[in-house]
C-alpha cells in the first residue's frame, strides 16, 4: 500500500515554477511582441520610479551657456531654450506619468469594479437608473469634462487624478457589469445563495474572483488612456502646471516657439509618449488574449 502511495507522489513531478513564472513563459511563447512591449513597459516603470537617480541633471536645472544644444553625448536628447537637459526632463516626465497613470487607472478600476459588481449583481431598478446615468456620463468627451473641471478647480495633480479616475471608472463599469451578469447565473452562485450566504460574501468570495481577468485587463488598457489624456490636458496648458516636466507640457507653452530653432524639442517628449502608450496598449492586448479569451478583438 505504502509503495503505491509513494509512486503516486513521485510520478506527478510538479513544475518548480510558480503561477507568475508560468504566465511569463506563456507570454513569451505565445505573444512575442506582447512580451517585448511588456519589457518596454517595465523599463518605463523603472525609469519613472528611479528618475531621481537616473537623470544626469535636475529637472529644472538651468544652464544659460548650453541653450538649444542639439543632441550630443553630453545631452543625448539635446537641451531646451533655458538650457535644461531634455533627457532628464523626459525621465522626470516618466515619473509624473507613472504617478498619474497608476493612481488614476487604479482609482478608475476600483470605481468600475464597485459600480459594475453592484449594478450587475443587484440588477433591477437600481441598475436601470444607474445605466441611464452612465449613458449620460459617457456622452461627454473625457477631455471636455476635464477641461471644465480644471476651469473650476484650477490645474493640479490631485484634481486630475480624481477626475480621470471618476471619468474612466464610470465608463469602465459597463465592462465589469457585463462580466458580472454572465457570472451571476453560474451554479456555484446559486448554491451560495441557497446556503444563505450574505450578499457581501457572495460578491467578495464568488463574483469578484471570477471577474478578475477583465479587471486586470481593464487596468492596463486604462493606463494607456490615462497617460494619453493627461498629456493632452498638459499640452493645452491645463494639466500639471509648469515648470513640472510633463511630456504633454514640453510640447506646448514656451518651448513651442523654439521648436523652429531646435526641432529635437518636438521629438523626444512625443516619442516617449508614443512608445510608452504603444507598449502599454500592446501589453494590455496580450494580457487580454491570454487571460480573458472572451474579450478578444473587443476594446
Amino acid at each position: 500500500m505504502a509503495s503505491i502511495a509513494d509512486t503516486a507522489v513521485t510520478t506527478a513531478p510538479r513544475p518548480a515554477r510558480g503561477p507568475f513564472m508560468r504566465f511569463v513563459v506563456r507570454l513569451v511563447r505565445e505573444k512575442p511582441l506582447g512580451a517585448v512591449c511588456a519589457a518596454i513597459f517595465m523599463l518605463f516603470l523603472f525609469c519613472g520610479i528611479f528618475a531621481d537617480v537616473l537623470a544626469p541633471y535636475g529637472m529644472n536645472q538651468i544652464s544659460p551657456l548650453n541653450r538649444l544644444k542639439p543632441p550630443s553625448l553630453q545631452y543625448p536628447f539635446g537641451t531646451d531654450n533655458l538650457g535644461r537637459d531634455m533627457l532628464s526632463r523626459c525621465l522626470y516626465g516618466a515619473q509624473l506619468s507613472v504617478i498619474i497613470g497608476f493612481c488614476a487607472a487604479g482609482l478608475a478600476t476600483i470605481i468600475s469594479v464597485v459600480l459594475g459588481i453592484l449594478t450587475g449583481y443587484l440588477g433591477g431598478k437600481f441598475d436601470l437608473v444607474t445605466q441611464r446615468f452612465v449613458d449620460a456620463w459617457m456622452s461627454f468627451p473625457d477631455l471636455i469634462i476635464l477641461i471644465v473641471v480644471v476651469s473650476v478647480l484650477g490645474p493640479g495633480m490631485p484634481q486630475i487624478i480624481a477626475t480621470l479616475g471618476l471619468l474612466l471608472g464610470i465608463a469602465g463599469s459597463r465592462i465589469i457589469r457585463s462580466a458580472v451578469v454572465s457570472v451571476r447565473e453560474n451554479m456555484y452562485v446559486h448554491a451560495a445563495q441557497s446556503t444563505g450566504a450574505s450578499t457581501f460574501r457572495i460578491l467578495w468570495r464568488h463574483i469578484l474572483p471570477n471577474v478578475m481577468p477583465p479587471v486586470i485587463v481593464l487596468f492596463t488598457t486604462r493606463l494607456g488612456v490615462v497617460i494619453l489624456i493627461e498629456s493632452g490636458l498638459s499640452f493645452l496648458g491645463l494639466g500639471v502646471p509648469p515648470p513640472a516636466p510633463t511630456w504633454g507640457g514640453m510640447l506646448s507653452g514656451a518651448g513651442r516657439t523654439f521648436m523652429y530653432q531646435g526641432p529635437w524639442l518636438a521629438l523626444a517628449p512625443g516619442l516617449c509618449l508614443t512608445v510608452v502608450v504603444y507598449a502599454t496598449n500592446m501589453f494590455g492586448d496580450a494580457l487580454r488574449d491570454l487571460l480573458d479569451p472572451r474579450m478578444r478583438g473587443s476594446r
Partner: protein
Amino acid sequence: MQAYIARRLLALIPTLFFASLIVFVTVRLIPGDIIDLMLSSNDISAGKKSREQLEMALGLDQPMYLQYFRWIYAILIQGDFGKSLWQNTPVAEQLLVRLPITFELGALALLVALAVAIPIGVYSAIRQDSAGDYVARSFSILMLSVPSFWVGTMVMVFPSIWWGWSPDVKFVPFSQDPLRNLGQMAIPAIILGCALSAVTMRLTRTMMLEVLRQDYVRTAWAKGLDEKLVVVRHALRNALIPVVTLIGLQAPLLIGGAVILEQIFVIPGMGLLLLDAVSQRDYPIITGVFLIVGVAVMVINLIVDLSYGVLDPKVRYR
C-alpha cells in the same frame, strides 16, 4: 418601426435629464467658489463688477434647485443659454456659429477614418494571420498610441524648417471659399481620422472574420463566385452593420480630439470657444459648450440607433 423610434426617444429623456444634471453639478457644486476664483485672479470679466453683481449675473444668489430649474427652463423654452460675461453677447449665438465648424471637422475626420479603416480591416480579415495582417494590426495600435497633438505639432514645425511651408491658419468659412476651407480642414481631419481609424479597423476585421465563417458565405464560394463578389457583396455588407454603431460610440472621441486640433490649427470651433472661455473664466459659455457637446453626442447616437433599425431588420422587432 414607429414603435421602435418612440421607444428610443422615450429612453432619451432620462439620459438627457442626467446629462443636464451632470453639467449643472460639475460647474456649480464643485468645491471652490467660482466667484472667489474670478475675483482673486483679477479676471478681465470680473474686473469691473462687485461680488453681488457677479452672483446676480451667474444666478448664484438663489437656492440650488431653483437655479437648476431656472437654467433648464430658459434653455428648453427660450433657447437661452445666458450671456457671455466677457463679450456680453448671447451664448446661444456663439454656439450656433461654432457648432457647424466642429461638425465639419468631425465629419471629415470620420470620412478619413472609414476610408482608411474599412479596406485595411477587410484585407486583414481575408488574409488572417498573414504578415500583412500582423503589420496592419500593429499599425492600428500604433495609430491609437500616437498623440494627435504631437503629430499636429510636427506638421507645424518640420515642413516649415525643411521647405519653408506651414499650414494655413487664417480660418476661412466654408460658405466664403469652400476650396480654401477644405484645404485648411484637410490636415487636422487626416490626423484625427487616422487616430480614430484604429478601433474601426479592428472591429471591421473581427466582424469580417465572423461573417466569413457563415454558411451563406461558404455557399457563395461553393457556387464558384469571384472573390471580390463574395467579400464585398456577401460578407462586407453584413459585417459593416456593427461598424455603424461604432460611429456613435466614437462621437465623443471625435469631439474631444477636435478640441486639441482646433487649438493647434486655430480653427474657431467649439473646442477653441471652450478653451478661450476657460482662460477668461466665462462660465456661461463653458456651461453652454459642455451641455451642447453632450446633447450633440446623444443625438448622433440616436440617429445611429435609428439607422441601425433600418439597416438591420432584426433590431426593429426586438
